[in-house]
């Protein structure tokens, strides 16, 4: 079971890296979602895979031999919550990118590289948005 899941995790990683390297920002967000799930699978895998052995120690035993480690599952839970919040943020950022630039192609976002000076005092953002194609 473990080798199969390991290969599957590798495939998810590959798909995630492919999506992260795309120019479209939305695909990039999808890539992030994939990579965080792939990482969760890695954490899941390192906690051992077993069937039908709950990690509860009976009173007469000192420790269990063959059962899954329950801690990685708690770690995954934390990681899922964090990546959920960050995914929500990246979606709102992609909307903001589209509103500000009229495109989602990250290669076209080169304003700071061309040395265009950012306004030292932030211009009222709503005025600026109005001039741009929605």
């Amino acid at each position: 079971m473990e080798p199969i899941l390991a290969v599957a995790t590798g495939l998810v990683f590959a798909a995630a890296v492919y999506a992260l390297l795309r120019r479209n920002f939305l695909r990039l967000v999808v890539g992030f979602m994939l990579i965080s799930n792939a990482v969760n699978l890695v954490i899941f895998l390192v906690g051992r895979l077993t069937r039908g052995n709950p990690p509860v120690i009976p009173a007469e035993l000192e420790a269990l031999e063959f059962s899954a480690n329950p801690l990685p599952q708690a770690l995954i839970l934390t990681a899922i919550v964090i990546s959920f919040g960050i995914t929500a943020f990246t979606f709102s950022l992609s909307y903001r990118v589209y509103r500000s630039f009229g495109t989602l192609d990250v290669d076209l976002l080169t304003e700071t590289e061309r040395g265009a000076a950012p306004a030292p005092r932030s211009a009222p953002s709503r005025d600026e948005e109005r001039q741009l194609p929605a």
Partner: protein, 491 residues
């Protein structure tokens, strides 16, 4: 019991208070200022107690190590929290005067406080997964802060910053998972023993690569530093000062803590990787600073340059080198924030951001120009300023270790940065004003924190001995793994 967790609790309470006071700007400002002052006072007390009585451990819910999550405050952690709280206080005081124009939205205050909570949490935690959680706390706050304001360059830099830092987090998390899989523990002291046991997994060097990539992106180590100039170059100066003073330093701190505990020794090439990364960061930061036409661009490239020096100290790895790196790290938190705030003042006074368009500041505000000289030349490592003391220590330690070539390159890098800040001085401040500017005058709310910060830099320059003592003790504790273990596992 409250003292070791106070660096976390105070920003949390302040952030909650700021959220409740969203409707009222004066209340929010008062709460923020009280929180920042309390943070500085309590971290100062914490540092004092750690220096007097040795490291403090707080067990969350009283779970014994290695099962529960620990807060471990040794000299390095306490000194880092104190420096971070000072930067936070100065930036808060500065932002009180500048927030109305810089941050129209009131979201700045709660986010700045959660950011500081994440930074302080990363400094004090004794648990590897907990370190990841604090990283995420500070990251998501900084994501929102960088994007806040919605002007186009800010949105653009937020995209780069967010994507690269997410990759960094994922790399770090994979490293944690594999390390847990091979050792079965996440407690740092326990891990330090596991990776040194004879039956350690042959995977350890591979795992260390995940950590180097993860921390390298956070610390802005070349080749992972390319997000930094745009992310720190576009937000308002107040916010950029907070980010530049705290965020990359968390990455360097993690290299220090995790590097000495887990990889320095068990992984043979670890020091060399940091050494090469450090030298490349120095070169790229120096050349980048020289190539900039904007004042802020020049200043933020020196962040990469400074991180390179700290990594050089880590790469040398002897106790003297670690001590010098810690000295440099602590002083640089203050120096870099001051420099970015001063750069912001230059932009505000002249109303321009390009060096060629500036000028005339020396004539209009000679004291401000003098402050800039002190801080900028400290960054370049010009004697007798504080940056020079840190570099001197690093050079001595590295030469004692026989690293001639690396030091020569670092020296050349310093000369290039000296040229760059000289250029900033002559073009931005000394030459007659390129454009007549309507001088907005001096605002006391902005100037007082700057005067305090520059005064602190001058004080550290003329009397660096106390900071050297702190750095020496921190380095001694870092090298003493057995002592760390004893503190953590003490009943």
């Amino acid at each position: 019991m409250f003292l070791p967790i106070s660096p976390l609790v105070i920003p949390l309470l302040t952030a909650i208070g700021c959220l409740f006071a969203r409707r009222s700007r004066p209340v929010q400002h008062t709460v923020s200022l009280i929180g920042a002052v309390a943070g500085a006072v309590f971290t100062g007390l914490l540092l004092y107690r750690v220096l007097e009585e040795g490291p403090i451990v707080a067990r969350m819910s009283d779970w014994p190590a290695p099962f529960g999550i620990l807060v471990v405050v040794d000299t390095l952690s306490a000194a880092m929290t104190t420096a971070a709280a000072l930067v936070h206080l100065a930036v808060t005081a500065h932002a009180l005067a500048s927030a109305d124009e810089d941050r129209r939205r009131s979201d700045f205050w709660p986010l700045a406080n959660t950011l500081v909570m994440g930074v302080q949490g990363a400094f004090v935690t004794g648990d590897l997964f907990n370190l990841y959680v604090w990283f995420e706390v500070l990251l998501i706050s900084s994501f929102a802060l960088v994007a806040l304001g919605n002007i186009r360059p800010q949105v653009e830099s937020a995209v780069k910053y967010v994507v690269l830092n997410l990759v960094s987090s994922m790399s770090f998390l994979v490293g944690i998972a594999l390390l847990y899989g091979t050792t079965g523990t996440l407690n740092l002291a326990d891990l330090a023993a596991s990776v040194r046991s004879p039956e350690v997994s042959p995977l350890l060097p591979t795992i260390s690569v995940f950590f180097i990539v993860g921390f390298g992106i956070k610390a802005a180590m070349f080749p992972f530093s390319l997000w930094l100039p745009s992310a720190y170059g576009t937000p308002p100066a107040t916010l950029a000062a907070l980010l530049a003073g705290l965020l990359t330093k968390v990455g360097v701190y993690s290299f220090l803590r995790i590097g000495t505990l887990l990889f320095d020794g068990p992984v043979p090439g670890f020091r060399d990787a940091l050494m090469v990364g450090g030298v490349l960061s120095i070169a790229v930061g120096a050349v980048g600073a020289l190539s900039q036409s904007r004042m802020r661009g020049l200043l933020v490239h020196t962040v990469v340059f400074a991180v390179g020096f700290m990594l050089l100290g880590l790469g040398t790895g002897t106790e003297a080198a670690l001590s010098a790196a810690i000295f440099y790290l602590l002083s640089d938190m203050i120096v870099v924030s001051t420099l970015v705030l001063l750069g912001g003042e230059m932009e505000r006074i002249t109303g321009r951001v390009r060096l060629a368009d500036m000028g005339g500041i020396y004539r209009a505000h000679p004291w401000l120009a003098l402050g800039f000289v002190v801080v900028a030349f400290s960054v370049a490592g010009f004697p007798p300023f504080v940056g020079f003391w840190g570099k001197l220590g690093l050079f001595q330690a590295a030469l004692a270790d026989g690293r001639w070539g690396m030091m020569l390159l670092a020296l050349v890098g310093s000369a290039v940065v000296l040229t760059a800040v000289g250029q900033a001085w002559s073009l931005g401040l000394w030459k007659p004003a390129a454009h007549a500017f309507a001088d907005p005058g001096i605002e006391w709310g902005r100037v007082v924190p700057l005067v305090v910060l520059v005064g602190l830099v001058v004080a550290l320059s003329v009397h660096p001995a106390p900071l050297f003592d702190v750095a020496d003790q921190a380095a001694r504790e870092l090298m003493d793994l057995e002592g760390y273990r004893k503190v953590v596992f003490a009943p």
